[in-house]
Amino acid sequence: MKHSLLTAATVACAMTTGGLSLSAHAADDYKLGLVTFLSGAASGPFGIPAKNAADLVIEAINDGTLPAPIQGKGIDGRQITPVYVDEAGGATKQTSEFRNLVERDGVDAVVGYISSGDCLAIPAVAEELKKLTVLFDCGTPRVFEEADYKYVFRTHSTASMDNIAAAHYVNDNVPELESVAGINQNYSWGHDSWRDFTETLKVLRDGDIEITTEQFPKLFAGQYGAEISALQVNSADVIHTSFWGGDTDAFVLQAAARGLLADNQVIFTAGETALNSLGEHLPDGAIIGARGPFGPFAPDSELNTWFQTEFTERFGTPPTFPAYHMAHALIGLKLAQDKAGVGASTEEVITAFEGLEFEGPGGKVEMSRGKGHQAATEMVYGRLERVDGEITFTDIVRYPADCVNPPEGTETVEWIQAGMPGAECN
Amino acid sequence: MSALLKTVNLERTFGAVTAATDINVELNSGEIVGVIGSNGAGKTTFINMVTGYIQPSGGDILVRGESIIGKSPREVSLAGVGRSFQVAQLFQELTVLDNMLIAFGFSVDRKLSFLNPLRSAEKIEKAQAVLREYEIEQYTDEVVSTLPQGVRKLLDIAMAMLSNPGLMLLDEPTSGVAIEDKFTLMDTVMAAVRKSDAATMFVEHDMEVVLRYADRVLAFYDGRVLADGPTQKVLSDPKVQELVVGHHLDLSDSAPATTKESGHA
């Protein structure tokens, strides 16, 4: 028994440290940690499109081929070398991987995180390790509402924006609106989306709205037969859903087959990712959102044309909102670094990043919330309409950033319940 | 003073099958009783009921005047009833010593200590003394599952006897043991039993063994007690010979006292 512990400890140490050589890297590269879902249910709709966008944009940045006004090769005078990490495994695992990226792989910055849980957990570690981190896709407003961060930025709006705008849209565009029903996934995203939507609607209509049923099926449940029946039994003028990925697909297929989509007005706050695959099952009149001015709602600009063409050519499908989110995060990071100048310290880059305004393929991004660390953008909804079999959109409404994003220093729910003071909607 | 064990109209049915019925037995300290009967006659059912392993369908079981109906095996054994099993029930993958030490801990010390080592020198000493008494000391560090049946049977009985039960029930102590070892085993066991003044019942198919060690015999037939009395008397009962033993027994030259010595040689 007596040497067992020493032996075991030696084996353990040898095996743990054996892989250290992985971290060797060239000094003149800009190492960028990229964290996105490469496995699991979120990889198809979010993770991989985002990774594809990253590949495309990083290559363009390195070659200096991004359209004007973005200039220069590389970032901080260096070529970007991406280090990809799978976002699977939960927040504890991801904080561990974040440390590995920063301390083992020695990355210069990290861009990543789709899951809200990860986006809540990572910033504290980023602060501790003093590493510039750009959150690129997660929706929860809690990140900059619950704390202030120096090293953390988010270059897109929170999911609150989607649902506040959704409430505006149905209030303005659905005639004789009296009742709503909801079907959202049973986790934070679904709960928050439904809450923001209904709370806003109550404020907009002075409480004159009836909620017929609130369904919260399990995430990735796949079978929505009972929920669809419940939506049919408790028929409402508008059905709200913040489903994404495979759940949207399953819901659309099953609801379409049972006539729910034809008989009811449905608003899909994150429905854009399903357009390419399932457009033919969505009936005319379905209200679609893209979590910002992305995809079909993206502005007509040189940058966007480049992004759409190149992306579609290379990957076979047009870019969806996670791809835009990724592009914005990378471009934002590059512009902040350019503004601070070559060889600038992290602190100088942060100062340059704070309050930055820039144009991405998805339009204007203002880092105007969360003490300059949180972006606010406009939000767009439109109704699907087929013209000669091609999907187009009508009744497109653009909501300015200051209409659908809570002002600096307020918490979303409180702001909505207070009647959304200071919202500028024209 | 009440009897050590008394059963009153004990009965057990399994569905439509009656495994035991109308069993009235009384037993006092120091008695050594052989239980005989063909397979399915109710012997094991009887022992299982008396030790709380199965509950009777009717009747009562009194140990020192107290009913044990509804009590679990554990409560029954705490009331002073010990048993061994037809197939030795041991901690198979542990050593003989550990088996004995655990048995000591639970049935003698009765204190579930958390931090005192089980294998203290003092406890090992005690355990080995017992193993010596049962003549299995040489197997101390062997793993039980590797040992021959006879050794396991002895260990099983030794463990059951540790707490000095007032009533000891041995279910076929010699089954699975080679014929030539049967008497050695029984001698060892009986020596220990006699020392403790426990009342002992043992189920046995071998009439030679019964003749040699039992003072009294309970003969089971078809779930009932067919005969109950001194060994010689019961075994010479023609009804018992016909229904239980299955053949004629010649009892003339096997007086228990004489063969015991020769069997040992």
Partner: protein, 298 residues
């Protein structure tokens, strides 16, 4: 009234789906004493191969009705082939190991298959909705239901009947039941237990893949879909009694109805209604409702 009809129909549809996904699991456990975690991967495998085949089939522009055959055929072939590989290549070296170890072995198979599926088919969603929409819908009591879902009920009844017939009326089935009842006796009777195991695993894997294929048309086939169903299938099987086919049927019905009721009347408890049912059943019947009895041996 409308609600009651909805609950009954939704419950039955969900129950038949649950039965199809759990029948193979319980069969394998009953015969082989393996709680097969990789059952979820066979489900995913069936879904992917079925969907890929249907996608290809429609690209050839052949008769739409035949797509059902393509869907099911592809899944069965894939399920049985991989099943054979797993059983002959791995599991047979493990027979006799502890049940819990077997859970981990099949868990490892699940991890490997998940990534293997990803390597073959990528992470993009696959669709096979044509069979789902082709059958149209039925309206009654102010509600409309997809005919495909009714077909699912029929298929689950067919699978149930087939299993019942196979186990009770065929020679091999009777041998299988001997193995379920007492493996030692089966060995002593000269039954080739190893062959029975192979056949059982193939049937179980086949049904698992079939379940995936039948589910595929109603949704998009995406990575991780197998992990999601496995817990559900476990719950159903544990409620019904591990190893019992009729138990799986009753378990599926109970869970299906409980869930439909929850969705319609108390949507907020939907997520753990299934565990509550499982807890309740186990608290009163530790072996599940229809457990294959295990004699206590002394």
């Amino acid at each position: 009234m409308k609600q009651l009809i909805a609950i009954l129909v939704d419950g039955s549809v969900y129950a038949s789906w649950l039965f199809i996904i759990s029948a193979g699991l319980t069969l394998i456990y009953g015969v082989m004493r393996i709680l097969n975690m990789s059952h979820g991967s066979f489900y995913a495998l069936g879904a992917y191969s079925g969907a890929a085949m249907v996608g290809w089939y429609f690209s050839t522009g052949s008769v739409p009705w035949f797509s059902f055959v393509a869907l099911i055929g592809a899944a069965l072939v894939a399920g049985i082939t991989v099943g054979l590989l797993v059983e002959r290549g791995l599991l047979r070296f493990m027979y006799g190991r502890d049940e819990v170890v077997m859970i981990l072995v099949t868990y490892a198979v699940l991890l490997i298959m998940e990534d293997a599926i990803k390597l073959i088919w990528g992470v993009e969603p696959y669709f096979a909705y044509q069979p789902y929409t082709m059958l149209g819908r039925t309206k009654f009591a102010g509600l409309s239901f997809a005919n495909y879902d009714f077909m699912l009920i029929g298929v689950s009844i067919l699978i149930g009947l087939a299993l019942w017939y196979g186990l009770n009326r065929t020679r091999n089935g009777k041998l299988l039941r001997v193995v379920i009842h007492d493996r030692e006796i089966a060995g002593a009777l000269g039954i080739n237990v190893s062959r029975i195991f192979t056949i059982t695993f193939l049937i179980g894997a086949g049904i698992g893949a079939l379940a995936g294929a039948l589910t595929a048309p109603g949704l998009s086939v995406v990575p991780g879909m197998g992990i999601e169903v496995i817990v559900l299938a476990f719950a159903v099987v544990v409620i019904g009694g591990l190893g019992s086919i009729s138990g799986a049927l009753v378990g599926a019905l109970i869970v299906g109805m409980a869930r439909a009721t929850a969705v319609h009347l108390y949507p907020e408890v939907e997520l753990f209604v299934i565990y509550a049912v499982m807890g309740l059943v186990l608290a009163f019947r530790p072996q599940g409702l229809f457990a294959v009895a295990n004699a206590r041996k002394i």
